[in-house]
Amino acid sequence: MTLHVSLRDGFQNATVTITVNGSDAYRKSNVTTNLTISHADSIDVPVDGPTARLEVAVDGGPRRTEDIPVAETPYVNVRITDGAMEFLRSSEPIPML
């Protein structure tokens, strides 16, 4: 199965780390949301098992960890609002435009 993680709103020159089941999956700096499509970056991470522990962290900023039922909601949109990070899970990709 594949976990699709999209960094969406609220990223501004951020250094972002994504960890899935304890393994580093992503680390990038200068991550910034493109306001015209509300999207900063995306990764697809293959996972074993029906659940994956997802952690997303911004250096010097918010972080969040959740167990994602990948079989049901393989798409996770990450957004930062008022300094707090939230995960929006979906069975389908949330469109961008």
Binding site: L35, I37, S38, H39, L88, I94, M96, L97
Partner: protein, 694 residues
């Protein structure tokens, strides 16, 4: 058909949602105020005075035969033109007036600034409508109070003009404009829709909003009519065409979309204009989840957008609804609208509206029930704040190619604005001989004036900013815009010539120092633009060029920057040397450059200044101790010293071509005065080669 006049060419249908007369709008305001007062009284605590009865409902007004006054007007006073927008009736009136000022000088029209009156008082009588209030401006307005008076006309009469009067806050009259009615729309935009050859589903045309549950009245909507309901007229160009899919491959990148826009958008120009390009493609590099994108975020932004049919194409009602929404949404970004929940990212920030039932929201992110709840309630409109932006936003915050995306605030008068139109028949080009400069290195601007009119033009030849007929604007890395102000003003006489097409005149100007001090005094990116005042009054504006000043990296560069950057050094560069005692520290700095860094390229500027000065006679006046008499000391030219210094500069290859020619000419004069005719002749022969090479 218009219910007020079957013969009228007015295209705004009475069936359009929210159509109001100005009386209805004013009555509704009064009724709202009365209702609010009654409600407040009815909810007062026990023991308070008894609440008055609620007013009766407003009776349905009779059909009004007065013409609506809202729309766009235009008028001139002196060299200024005002485009006025009055918004007090018709569809969804926003109760505002706004306007854009242009300046027409000779054959050029330049944008000056904008204003809006956000909370005007509106007075309606049977004979006239008066809208009045304090305006907000993009520039410092001396008479900021605006009064717009429009005589009421029946639908059988032509529209009345708008009398626009400006007043100071103290009530003194300012300028007055009489603006003729131009259009019931607030803004007019050309739209060109191209499609790519591999799109597998039809390009969107129209969707009936009653096909599926929705908010608002059922009606057929196209992109054009959706914007018409917002008061924006979209006129399709005749240039729509099909683009070969090979330009983008199986999927499109933003760079490919931008290149395609420049290639295929028939009215594309690299300047602000009311024209937008929308391309219908199949797939973006980001995959089928990207339904559309306003890809134009480079250079002059927001001139084009794209929609992708892999995600939205088809002919079912849901798909047509999604296409309408996506096409209108992306164009909304071209108008500089942000997503509903991201308004706080605007500059200046606005309030986020995540629950807005607007084209600019995401249905699937709608907080009160998601996509199905959104579609059930969506009336296929922009929200009020977005309507206000579209109709009354300051011009550069809305126009395609104006302010960058999300930048909504105007930052002062448009000093560096590209003209709206230029029929002067002349073209001004500026350049620097190198793309970037060391900190402290003199910045010399080369200017070239040519004729674009095939018949040629008569033009004055005072290109140097010293003569006041060419202005140079410099935008510093901080964003501040300064006009270069030369140290000494020169009063030019008449000096004109016929400039045939293909011919040009040139000059160069040191613009590093003037009355404003050092203009390139910090590392970073500068933008420079020049404006030539032509004989007929036209303001011929050059393109904007970038000038980059490098950060000093080495200790030598730091030291040279310190030695060059001073008021005295700037003055010496401007004057090309001086014996003045008041500039002795500057001269000492240049001596130190020559002593410690003789081989550095920047040392040649010190040689240039000293070489020119040595080659001239210099008079110094000294006052005797009694203060009543003085004497003139004349220093003879030091021809040998001048020859050595200027020869080194001429051989260095450091200067721009015009300055190199000037140096060679001076060297030849010095050699001739020194009695070396042969050397002088040889030097003069290098002059034309310097110009050709440069």
């Amino acid at each position: 058909m218009n219910v007020y006049d079957p013969t009228s060419t007015d295209t705004i249908s009475a069936d359009s949602p929210g159509e109001m007369t100005v009386e209805e709008m004013v009555t509704l305001e009064a009724s709202d105020a009365a209702n609010l007062a009654a409600l407040a009284a009815a909810t007062t605590p026990a023991g308070a005075a008894a609440a008055p009865p609620l007013p009766l409902p407003i009776p349905i007004p009779p059909i009004v035969i007065k013409r609506a006054v809202s729309g766009r007007y235009r008028g001139n006073t002196g060299s200024f033109q005002l485009e006025l927008r009055v918004d007090v009736d018709r569809t969804r009136p926003m109760k505002r007036v706004s306007g854009d000022f242009l300046q027409v000088t000779g054959g050029t029209t330049t944008y000056v600034g904008s204003f809006v009156v956000n909370a005007p008082s509106i007075s309606v009588t049977p004979t006239q409508v008066i809208v009045q209030g304090l305006g907000s401006y993009t520039f410092s307005a001396g008479a900021p109070v605006v009064r717009v008076t429009i005589q009421r006309r029946t639908i059988l009469q032509p529209p009345a003009p708008a009398l626009v009067e400006f007043f100071t806050t103290g009530g003194s009259p300012g300028a007055t404009y009489t603006c003729a009615f131009e259009s019931p729309y607030f803004r007019t935009v050309q739209i060109e829709t191209d499609s790519v050859s591999n799109v597998t589903t039809p390009v969107f045309a129209s969707y009936n909003t009653g096909s599926l549950p929705s908010g608002g009245p059922a009606r057929p909507l196209s992109v054009v009519s959706a914007y018409a309901e917002a008061g924006i007229q979209m006129i399709p160009t005749s240039g729509a065409n099909v683009i070969n899919a090979s330009e983008g491959g199986p999927s499109w990148s933003n760079a490919e979309l931008h290149a395609s826009m420049e290639r295929h958008f028939t009215v594309w120009r690299d300047l602000p204009q009311w024209a937008v390009w929308e391309v219908v493609a199949q797939l973006h590099d980001l995959g089928p989840g990207l339904y559309g994108i306003m890809f134009d975020q480079q250079g002059r932004q927001r001139q084009g957008c794209a929609v992708f049919h892999q995600g939205i194409g088809g002919t079912t009602a849901e798909q047509l609804r999604l296409q309408l929404y996506t096409y209108v949404h992306e164009l909304g970004h071209c108008f500089n609208l942000l997503h509903s929940w991201q308004k706080s990212f605007a500059v200046p920030p606005a309030t986020n509206r995540p629950k807005a039932l607007s084209w600019m929201n995401y249905p699937w992110s709608y907080p009160d029930g998601g996509a199905s709840a959104f579609w059930n309630a969506f009336p296929f409109q922009f929200d009020n704040e977005e309507i206000i932006h579209l109709r009354h936003g300051f011009r550069n915050n809305v126009i395609m190619g104006g302010a960058n995306f999300a930048v909504g605030a105007a930052l002062g008068r448009e000093i560096m604005a590209t003209p709206v139109s230029d029929e002067s028949g002349l073209r001004l080009r500026i350049s620097t001989h190198q793309r970037n400069f060391a900190l402290g290195e003199p910045v010399v601007l080369q200017l070239e004036l040519g004729a674009t009119d095939p018949r040629g033009r008569r033009a004055h030849t005072w290109l140097h900013p010293n003569f006041g007929l060419v202005k140079v604007a410099i935008r510093k890395p901080s964003g501040e815009v300064w006009f270069y102000d030369p140290m000494i003003d020169h009063l030019p006489g008449e000096r004109t010539r016929d400039l045939p097409s293909g011919d040009s005149i040139q000059d160069s100007a040191y613009i590093g120092y003037g009355k404003g001090g050092l203009y390139f005094d910090q590392p970073g990116r500068y933008q420079v633009r020049a404006i030539y005042g032509a004989i007929d009054g036209s303001q011929v504006i050059s393109d904007i060029i970038d000038v980059r000043v490098r950060y000093p990296v080495t200790a030598v560069e730091e030291e040279l920057a310190d030695l060059f950057m001073g008021d005295e050094q700037g003055t010496l560069l401007y004057l090309l040397g001086s014996d003045a005692d008041s500039l002795r520290h500057g001269n000492a700095a240049f001596d130190e450059v020559l002593a410690k860094h003789p081989k550095h390229a920047m040392a040649n500027y010190a040689r240039l200044v000293k070489g020119f000065n040595a080659g001239r006679e210099f008079k110094t006046i000294s006052i005797d101790a009694d203060g009543r008499s003085g004497r003139v000391a004349v220093r003879a030219p030091a021809l040998g010293e001048s020859t050595a210094l200027l020869s080194a500069v001429a051989d260095s290859g450091v200067l721009d071509s015009v300055s190199a020619e000037m140096t060679l000419s001076k060297l030849a004069d010095v050699q001739a005065k020194g009695g070396d005719a042969t050397a002088a002749a040889k030097t003069r022969s290098r002059v034309s080669r310097a110009v050709a090479v440069g």
